[in-house]
Amino acid sequence: MFPTPIEKTPRAWQLTYQSLLPLALLMWLLPLLAVALFSVKPEADFVGGGYWSIPSYFAGFENYGRVFFDSDMPRYLMNSVLITIPTVIGCVVLSSMTGFALGIYKFKSNIWIFFMFVAGNFVPFQILMVPVRDLTLDLGLYNTKTGLVLFHIAFQTGFCTLFMRNFIRALPYPLIEAARVEGVSEWRIFWFVVLPLMKPAMAAMSVLIFTFIWNDYFWAVVLTQGAESQPVTAGITSFNAQYRAAYHLMSAGSIVAALPPVAMFFLMQKHFIAGLTLGAVK
């Protein structure tokens, strides 16, 4: 283990380390803690110029209450959910199929199709922007959640295929051969042999895609406008325009917008990190 385990170091360094840890964390999260503090301060504190004073009273319920009952925030949140969940499902379905095809079968163009997905996943969004916007307009899906979902599924399939294919490659191949010898048909091999083994990969991927899509801003601005279909990342900007300089409400709103992926991360931490770091270890 590197660096030297703390138990084997001098007592003085052990104590320093123990006190450095919380201090470092505090520094690291300082900008965020400031926002959390803002979100529970009453409006009067800001008017008086006391930005960093201790809240004169706890106004958390009041501030968050206004975010939930007095603004478009719940609608934006709902839109985000209705965009994110179908995207995750679509990506898992499509990429478990493409991943299976590229991971199990050997055929000439296999590696090229795989590279197409990988390369496509890396391109800058801007090169897709105008044509995708046109396509969405032509399909009559501009400013709808469906339009956004369809694009997200297609684009994320690139990353997901990379993910699934590498995962399936690592499965024991004799398992598939044995099933073939038994005369099991190919789609049954997919359904009964490979799919059950892919569950951890699907879980990891779902959490990642959830976070990516929830946090997407660019496509939300390009393909939608207005509260009826925009997700919360785009909503927060109009929320801020509405409450400009109302720092207590803006911070409460930001925290609400940021919360779902954070909750997802803490609930599914193991899968999340397994997904993010796939390939970081040989």
């Binding site: 283990m1 590197f2 385990p5 380390y17 840890l21 470092a24 964390l25 999260l29 900008p31 965020l32 400031a34 926002v35 960093w52 499509l94 199929m97 493409t98 299976f100 095809a101 079968y105 055929f107 199709i113 590279f115 496509g120 890396f122 391109v123 800058p124 969004f125 801007q126 090169i127 897709l128 922007m129 105008v130 044509p131 995708v132 396509l135 297609a154 399939t157 190919e186 789609w187 976070t211 929830w214 801003y217 660019f218 990342t233 900007t237 720092y247 803006m250 911070s251 930001s254 917008a257 940021a258 992926p261 954070v262 991360f265 803490f266 993010l276 770091t277 970081a280 270890v281 040989k282």
Partner: protein, 308 residues
Amino acid sequence: MSITAMPTTEIVPARSWYKRNEIAVTPWLFLAPGVLFFLFYVIFPIFQSFNLSLYAWDGLGEARYVGLANYQELSTDRAFETSLWNNLKWLVLYLLAIPAGLFIALFLNQTVTGIRLYKSLFFFPFVISQIVVGLVFTWFYDPTFGLLNVMLGWIGLGPINVLGDPTLVTYGIIAAGLWPQTAYCMILYLTGLNAVDPEQIEAGRLDGAKGWRMLWYIIIPQLKPATFIAFVVTIIGALRSFDLISIMTNGGPFGSSRVLSFYMFEKALSEYGFRMGYGAAIAVVLFLIMLVFIAYFLWSMFQEERAR
């Protein structure tokens, strides 16, 4: 009369075409939906953008072919030049996330009580949307009440308006971007450190390697896969920077914090006009820059595939 068993010459039904070619056909059936979707939404649009960059088009009327005029205009466009330079700053400075992430990972790679929670909380910034990160840092930099200036005040330095200063603004936004990116690199290295071979470390210790030498000659070479991924995601992240600029400065002051991705959006799809063709030309330039890296990534992956 006894029933004699008929010789069971089972007539083999002509197996269907699908059955005979099952192994060759199945992968294509499984690929079809994903590949078609991807072609229509990702691959074809790339070529369409290339084509569009040769036209002048406002998004509504008839597109007019103008040849390379858009690119000629780019070569004299000062705003484009600024964006290009800023992209370069992003590329270089964003890479700081890699050593910074390694540093934090080494700091946290211990087994004391509560370390798991510490690791998660250090990772926290990556999970939050860049929009919120942008807002958080906008307030952090605020000249009237921002924490940065409060802290600078303690050591007697005057208030600086990071986001209002054309020379500082890009660095300020990059610093905000480094926050989540460092967290990402940290988690990659923490996983990598977990898999470092303890025997090699012991052997190194016996040979008298300590501290920096141990890190450089024994640990870092073993972290190569993690470093590669950190490099890939950081480069992509640097060239994709859009959200932070959009929320923190909207390209300002005086367009000094624009990057190509933002400038393209501004030209093609904002109140500054709908110049789709010109925007596409900017996107093509950005794409070509990215292509250098994509080619390198694919080449590395290809080497690895062959080595298997």
